[in-house]
Amino acid sequence: MLNFLARRLASTLPVLLIVSLLVFLMLRLTPGDPAAVLAGDAASTEQIAAIRASLGLDRSIAEQYLIWAGHLLTGDLGQSYYYKTAVTTLIGQRLEPTLSLALITITLAVLVAVPLGVLAAWRFGGWLDKALMGFSVAGFSVPVFVLAYVLIWIVSLKLGWLPVQGYKRLADGAGTWLYHLVLPALTLSVIYIALIARVTRASVLETLGEDYIRTARAKGLPEVKVLMRHALANAAVPIVTVIGIGIALLIGGVVVTESVYAIPGLGRLTVDAVLARDFPTIQGVILLFSFVYVLVNLLVDLSYVFFDPRIRY
């Protein structure tokens, strides 16, 4: 197990190196000039050239990469061209809103989707199953921003129950924090509920046809125990995989939701950085996202051992 862990962690290094190189090159080869963005609309060509030189953008790409990679080795992601702030500070500021939204969304999605999926599989072909399938199709089809505006209109503007926008830090109080996150999390969770419920249903349906389920029922076990202890537990691996991917996607930024609800998270930071051609910030957040993906995949792999003792590393 430890060997596996060490090997997997070591394998993240070349992944991150390749990602860093690709991102660095792609940014330099795409059109757009950070200096022109910073200078403002009325700036002259000379002013733009001076800013470009001050940012070191007049150096060769190889030279720029080596300087950046050198700083990266010391844990320094550089300074944002746009905000004149350390990229690590910017990421630090945006991490809490994104993690909070991801945590509440995925918790809500799992709490709703897994039981629904199990019930749908249990009542395969019945009205609950059909309703769940219908909901899944709708959940996948309705764009997030449409759902967000509809929920805002009903819940916030008509009923006045929740705020339209904004994020409050956990340090301001758990109640306020949750109050501002319920609606965005609800909006975002719909698609994950649809996804997780479908996978749960399919996976549980498969296990319900296994011999050990028939045996358990023949032994007279209550149906709840059959479903939870035998069917769900054995169907857990694909479900956990989907949840893991969901967490990684959520941490990678949910731009539309963050924009509509004015949540200053990593998604919004990434979009702002791309629009401003803020190279150090884009490089920093993409490296972070790559690391999160690798880490979440590793954790998902490790969790298989817990759900299926036959798996050994």
Partner: protein, 528 residues
């Protein structure tokens, strides 16, 4: 001591009510504003971005201001004299001016601030062509010695838009003009809370209790800057237009600085909201040609394009709300001191037939016109589409290229030929005060590749007229020269002015004290 349970509950409720009332009162003194964009750069001299300018107005003061009718009025300056030969200007500062760090504002601070501004701003650099030296004979006095007389000293010092000559402490103003300042200390009506600044999320300003406003009523960037709220919070995260309106309706924000035109009627119909008038002059759309490359290196082709691009179709498509736009033939903005119609018949009294004739006579060889269209900037997104259609009707071949605004901003700085990654035309929008003066208006600089702004027009006659304008000290003469410049600009086709419009601002009804600022300024406002 024993306390009766009911008494305890009553006391607890009373305490709760008191706390709630205090919280509500505290909230009442916070003005929550959604600015038109994100605030990224905190140095208003280093960049010309309007958000940085607005940030500057919060925390810095200016020597002069420009009132709602575009007249220059003293602000930090109490009095001034001008020598008979117009070469020596002596200014005395008002009493009680103090920076946020408690230090008094002195002539030395002013001189250092002006010097830094002069290295970055187009009008500042024009002024410094004349400045021989500056000194401060007394802490509250500074003098400007000019090598020869020039007629725009006050116009430059009272310049209301980017870059505004904001006054900073000497030690900060001595920062290299090409590096951003690190400290944000001014002597303006608000103080910046650096510790609460979260880029892309929130910027906070608190009332400067030591600020001494002028006695006059506020007007434009001039007059008394009285502050009636404790705190102004800029919500930098709320950038979705629909979400802004929702938040305003729900009372979560107090002011939306730039209301989308699509939401104008909705807000107008809402009894809890208002659309305060804050500008007399609005903004101007503009189509700019690249004078370096074929076919727009030919003035006759540019004239044909201007004749094809009459203003109404642009305004109707981009703004849509009739009451918010107006066709105006002046490149210097209608109803401002230099507003002019000279030479504008080319566009104002044009029609498509005339444009077609002009193009035919120009010798246009069918080179496709590369128009850059920003897909992500709703404020000007429709202008290139309208231009493409009108130019095609006139007989041009058009290559409309879609890109994001930042790609456009990078590309327009390139002088390469259009087929090698350059361009022929782009569109933009200016605040009235950026183009109302023949000196500040970047399109009037026609020194070819040496000229500051993209498009690089070349015309010696215009250069000469601009030089004469800079030196003219008589208002009548200045107006005459401005008219001549205006006529010449149409003659050589520097660019196409595409009409004026007002950018609506929306606010909750409980906000009062709005006045004509011609900009985004947050003093004099009360929250009831």
């Amino acid at each position: 001591m024993k306390m009766h349970r009911r008494t305890a509950i009553a006391l607890a409720l009373a305490a709760g009510a008191t706390l709630a009332t205090s919280a509500a009162q505290a909230q009442n003194n916070v003005l929550r504003v959604v600015p038109h964009s994100n605030l990224a750069i905190l140095d208003p001299i280093w960049t010309t971005a309007y958000m940085s300018r607005n940030h500057g107005y919060m925390i810095y003061d200016t020597l002069f201001g420009t009132d709602e009718n575009a007249k220059i009025k003293p602000q930090m300056v109490e009095s001034w004299t001008e020598s008979p030969d117009h070469r020596l200007w002596t200014f005395k500062l008002r009493k009680g001016l103090e920076f946020h760090d408690g230090k008094p504002v002195t002539g030395e601070d002013v001189i250092a601030s002006l010097q830094r501004w002069g290295k970055r701003d187009a009008m500042g650099s024009a002024l410094f062509q004349f400045v021989q030296k500056m000194d401060s004979p007394a802490p509250d006095t500074f003098r400007i010695f000019l090598g020869e007389a020039c007629g725009f000293v006050l116009e430059a010092l009272g310049k209301p838009s980017s870059n505004v000559p904001f006054i900073m402490p000497k030690r900060i103003a001595e920062t290299d003009a090409f590096k951003q300042i690190e400290e944000h200390i001014g002597s303006g009506p608000y103080m910046f809370k650096k510790d609460e600044f979260k880029p892309g999320d929130k910027a906070v300003y608190v009332k400067n209790p030591k600020y001494v406003p002028r006695n006059e009523p506020p007007s434009g960037s001039a007059g008394g800057k009285r502050v009636f709220v404790d705190r102004v919070e800029w919500n930098l995260a709320l950038r979705d237009a629909q979400a802004q309106v929702n938040a305003l309706k729900n009372g979560e924000v107090d002011i939306v600085e730039a209301l989308g035109f699509d939401h104008y009627e909705t807000v107008k119909a809402d009894t809890t909201l208002q659309l305060p008038k804050y500008s007399n002059f609005g903004l101007q759309y503009m189509g700019r040609f690249n004078h370096l490359h074929k076919p727009f290196d030919n003035a006759k082709v540019r004239q044909a394009a201007i004749a094809a691009m009459t203003q109404e179709p642009f305004l109707r498509a981009q703004v849509g709300v009739k009451s918010l736009y107006r066709a105006c033939p002046s490149m210097f903005i209608c109803n401002t001191p230099y507003g002019s119609t000279a030479g504008s018949d080319l566009q104002a009294k044009s029609n498509m037939k005339k444009a077609q004739e002009l193009l035919k006579a120009s010798g246009y060889d069918g080179t496709p016109i590369v128009i850059m269209k920003p897909t992500d900037l709703a404020a000007i997104q429709k202008l290139p589409d309208v231009a493409a259609q009108l130019l095609r009707q006139a007989g041009f071949k058009v290559d409309l290229q879609a890109m994001d605004w930042q790609t456009l901003v990078g590309r327009r700085a390139k002088k390469d030929a259009p087929e090698k990654g350059g361009w022929h035309m782009f569109f933009t929008s200016w605040g009235a005060f950026d183009v109302w003066s023949p000196i500040a208006n970047p399109t009037m600089d026609t020194r070819g590749e040496k000229s500051g702004w993209f498009g690089w027009a070349t015309d010696d006659k215009m250069v000469e007229l601009r030089n004469q304008f800079m030196r003219a000290t008589d208002e009548g003469e200045k107006k005459k020269l401005a008219d001549q410049m205006h006529a010449r600009a149409f003659e050589i086709g520097t660019h196409a002015p595409l009409g004026e419009y007002d950018q609506p601002m929306a606010a909750r009804k409980n906000i009062s004290g709005f006045f004509v600022t011609n900009s985004n300024i947050y003093w004099n406002l009360k929250k009831n």
